[in-house]
Amino acid sequence: MLLGEDEMNDNIADLVDSRTGRQSRSIYASEDIYRQELERIFGRCWLFLVHTSQIPKPGDYFRTFMGEDDVIVIRQKDGSIKAFLNSCTHRGNRICRADRGNARAFTCNYHGWSFSPDGALAGVPLENEAYFGELDRTKFGLIPVTKVAEYKGLVFGCWDANSPSLDDYLGDAKFFLDVWLDAMPGGSALLGETQKMVLGTNWKLPVENVCGDGYHLGWAHAGAMAAVQSMDLTGLSVGNSGVDLDGGLSVAGMNGHMVLSALDGVSGYAFYPDPKPILEYLEANRQTVIDRLGEVRGRQVWGAQVNITIFPNLQLLPGLNWFRVYHPKGPTQIEQWTWAMAENDMPEAVKAQILENQCLTFGLAGLFDNDDGDNLTACTEQSRGWRTAQMDVYTNMALGRSGKREGFPGDIASGLVSEHNQRYFYRRWQEHMMAETWAEVPTYNINSLTDEEAEHA
């Protein structure tokens, strides 16, 4: 299959085949495909903006990206949250330069236009003398993100007025999100500052890596696992010497969101050199969580190694407790932003341990991230050749071996080592890329639990 760049845009249908698990390598390097992703994926999907714990007080703001658009998210006087393009409506300057803070107003460095936290243009220097009082300030407020909505502390924004509600967008992924967000009565928080790192990879590769690739853990991270592992992680072995398919689940078919989950209720802390204080916390609160979420999630999932992917670019790992967003910066580069996750009911000592463990495992200097960064950048670089761009790659492990699993939503393959989730990720990517509008994007929550089933799960 040889396609020119222009043809590729018309041929998204040929770039991915989720029945055979095939992807064209051009999707990791083509500038045209990337431009279309900014429009049809990042310009259309609900994107994670901020956790409410990061902007607790009125006037608190947090800067982030939606695709390549710089956005400020601001807590309003009435407690609600609004988001705006971080771009002055006069000549386009960046109005806010800090990562986060608290502000009564945002004043532009260039000519001094001043915007209030609700986005209104509140002040214009020489408004009467130079504009002769003829500037209609109501037409020059900051450009708001079309929709902003919250799910239990996670705030998302969306540019597309015709998107489904956030609730519908998340669909059955909420079953798993609640294992962090709603397990304990105190709710959740993100800890610490943002760890930001530039990585020379296409944005889809780290998503694919964490959404379903249990296969790489035992091999790519063999050294890191040997260094920090304190408990067995069911379903994985160092060195990929064996595999236990009863140890976990690969869950997909939930509107493009995916979950990998161990089922032992503790293995999330397998990569903590000293997991004792956290295991005590789990033990002490297990019954509370079972009462709130039911047996399946309370006993098996809460505390286990769980990878949750919210399409397109948000990944969170309750247990290992890192939370990460990938901001695309062109077809072959991303900024990877990481925070530590906690439950507010955790003792301070446990929260401190989580922050510290992030340094050791999945922070910038983390032993696991050292391995992944190297592989993802090389996969991207090796897709840029004239010949390699014509090649295909496959996620065809365990094709056609999925189905329903009692107590869980989704189309489920057994085990953490499978490429089932990756196929659903690329299927979702293709569905978005082929659709002109949201109306053409299918909605599916395969094997959805009825409310009653969910109650007794």
């Binding site: 330069r97 800090a98 990562d99 986060r100 803070g101 608290n102 800890l191 610490g192 500052e193 943002t194 760890q195 930001k196 790192m197 530039v198 990585l199 020379g200 790519a220 063999a222 050294g223 890191a224 040997a226 260094a227 920090v228 160092v238 060195g239 050199p273 900024e335 925070w339 530590a340 401190a352 922050l355 510290e356 992030q358 340094c359 050791l360 922070g363 910038l364 200097a365 032993l367 991230d369 050292n370 391995d371 960064g373 190297d374 592989n375 950048t377």
Partner: protein, 183 residues
């Protein structure tokens, strides 16, 4: 860790003697050479058992925002390690399965601006320095980490052991794909 000297200078520090300054400067150079050569066992022997090795992350904030970013240990850090944690990191290399470290990274540490001060403890010295740590790997992977350090070194017999280090990088977005380095 209250029974060791503090990293923050409490008053105008007293400059150490020429001899002591020379000895500690040579210690820093030796440490840099061991790191360049990946002689991690020898490097680890320069670390005190009660070591605290800290590299804070830095957010971009407005000047009026007085949030303490550097010394607050409850905030995000790249390293916030005890000696056992450093040894754990080093043990990954020894497993022979840290694929991303093979081929090896090539390092050069340049240490400058050394100042040595006496502290409230007779056997501990506060040492300021700047570092330039250059890394090159494979064909074109390269990056530079530049920053300031404040250390406490403890005299043990004729040599010195590192008790505390705070290494302050200047990056907001880290412009490299990992931090597999000690500075």
């Amino acid at each position: 860790m209250t029974d060791t000297a503090t990293l923050e200078r409490t008053c105008e520090g007293t400059t150490a003697s020429l001899e002591l300054t020379h000895a500690l400067t040579q210690t820093l150079y030796r440490e840099a050479r061991l790191l360049d050569d990946e002689h991690y066992k020898a490097w680890a022997s320069m670390l005190a058992e009660d070591l605290h090795y800290h590299m804070p992350g830095i957010e971009t904030r407005y000047r009026r925002d007085k949030t303490e970013q550097v010394t607050d240990l409850t905030r995000m850090a790249y390293y916030n390690d005890s000696k056992p944690e450093i040894l754990k990191r080093l043990s990954r290399l020894e497993t022979g399965t840290a694929w991303s470290e093979d081929p090896a990274t090539r390092y050069t540490h340049i240490i400058t601006n050394v100042e040595v001060e006496l502290t409230e403890k007779a056997d501990e010295f506060r040492v300021y320095s700047n570092f330039y740590a250059y890394r090159n790997r494979n064909e074109r992977d390269e990056d530079s980490l530049i920053g300031n350090r404040i250390d406490i070194w403890r005299q043990v017999g004729n040599s010195f052991q590192l008790v505390k280090r705070r290494a302050i990088l200047k990056h907001n977005v880290m412009l490299s794909k990992n931090l597999n380095i000690y500075v």
